[in-house]
């Protein structure tokens, strides 16, 4: 019964989303793969791989596009969740993959630095030596601007969340 209801709800949501779209066009999406609980001891740091999948046929600018007019992909973490001297736990830095230089039918002579398919961003999380045992949610967003082979879509953002657990020494 629950499965039947869930199917009806999903079908209705799909029908609604399709009816809202331009015929023949699909809105680009990026999916964020959930991250398991990240365990840290006080004073430790760890690299957290954040995995993203871009829908087929789309690409997004890399973190360092070749033109300043293009909107870079960036992981935005609130300042309050960045690691600072007085912070117990936070993101110390973010490392982005290099983009792939690709040309597209709309500009065959131009190379754009892009991500397509799957890509990972590394968030380096750190716990201070004085960090107390407990859970520390990290909540930011991935901002991106996607294009396909003939059109571009306004900048969007998706939430990126994971939890850092500080365990005893």
């Amino acid at each position: 019964m629950i499965r039947r209801c869930a199917f009806v709800v999903l079908a209705a949501m799909l029908a609604l989303s399709l009816s809202a779209q331009e015929p023949g066009r699909v809105v680009p999406s990026i999916k964020f793969a959930p991250v398991g609980r990240v365990q840290l001891k006080p004073g430790e740091s760890k690299n957290v791989e954040l995995d993203f999948r871009i829908a087929n046929e789309f690409h997004v600018n890399s973190h360092k596009p070749h033109s300043e007019l293009l909107i870079p992909t960036s992981l935005n973490i609130p300042v309050s969740q960045m690691f600072k001297a007085k912070t117990s736990v936070g993101v110390a830095s973010v490392q982005y993959p290099a983009g792939e230089d690709m040309s597209f039918p709309f500009a065959p002579d131009e190379k754009l630095s892009v991500y397509s398919g799957d890509f990972s961003i590394t968030a380096v999380v750190k716990a201070s030596p004085e960090a107390t045992v407990g859970d520390y949610p990290i909540s930011g967003e991935l901002r991106f601007q996607a294009c396909d082979r003939s059109a571009c879509y306004p900048p969007r953002a998706i939430p990126v969340k994971f939890t850092v657990s500080v365990t005893g020494k």
Binding site: M1, R4, C5, V8, V9, A12, A15, L16, S19, A20, Q21, E22, P23, R25, V27, L69, L70, I71, F104, F106, A107, E110, L112, Q145, C147, D148, S150, A151, C152, Y153, P154, P155
Partner: protein
């Protein structure tokens, strides 16, 4: 088992109700808007936007002209491909009554947009887009999107994404082919003069 069936039917009724009421609300809210899909024959919603040189520009200022209304952004690479074509087409068909209007959908400031337009050699008015005008034109999400409006202010076509130049030119010719009864094409409105100045100034 019987109870499960009733729950299932109730759920279906609720969902159908949501879909129908959503469509009805969209229709009521969108009476003056362009809906997705075929727009041909519908009247283009009038708007008033600010141009890069600070003037207030209305679509209705260009009644009697064929208008190519192009939504674009500085971050849109396919849009950059079309712009030189629009420059050429404005030169080619300007005397026949074509006006290209660019609507920049950037969040960035107008100085950056003006610099970009200047570097692209744009010879037609560029207006600063708003969410309202995007909504009135059916929520312009895909860039570039162009609307082709005839001399009577009705849509003759719409292009989403980068089109072939020949397709753009074909739509322009359709827009120019229309005639407005009782309005002399030779009459020059203030908007004509403004557009003419912008064309000759660059």
């Amino acid at each position: 088992m019987k109870r499960n069936g009733l729950v299932f039917i109730a759920l279906c009724v609720i969902i159908i109700g949501m879909v129908v009421s959503g469509k009805y609300l969209n229709r009521v809210r969108g009476r003056n808007r362009v809906v997705a899909g075929d727009v041909r024959g519908k009247v283009a919603p009038d708007f008033e936007l600010t141009s890069l040189d600070g003037k207030r520009v209305k679509l209705s200022d260009y009644r009697g002209k064929a208008v190519l209304l192009n939504f674009w952004a500085t971050w849109c690479s396919p849009c950059k491909v079309e712009m030189p074509w629009f420059v050429d087409l404005q030169k080619k068909y300007g005397n026949d009554g074509l006006v290209v209007l660019g609507v920049a959908m950037d969040d960035s400031d107008s100085a950056k947009i003006a610099q970009f337009a200047s570097e692209m050699g744009v010879n037609y008015p560029v207006l600063l887009g708003t969410d309202k005008v995007s909504e009135e034109y059916g929520n312009v999400e895909f860039l570039p999107t162009s609307f082709y409006i005839d001399r009577e202010g009705k849509f003759v076509g719409k292009g989403v994404g980068l089109l072939a130049r020949s397709e753009i030119e074909g739509n322009i010719q359709k827009a120019l082919a229309s005639h407005v009864v009782g309005l002399s094409e030779a009459a020059e409105s203030p908007a004509d003069k403004a557009a003419g100045q912008q064309v000759t100034a660059q």
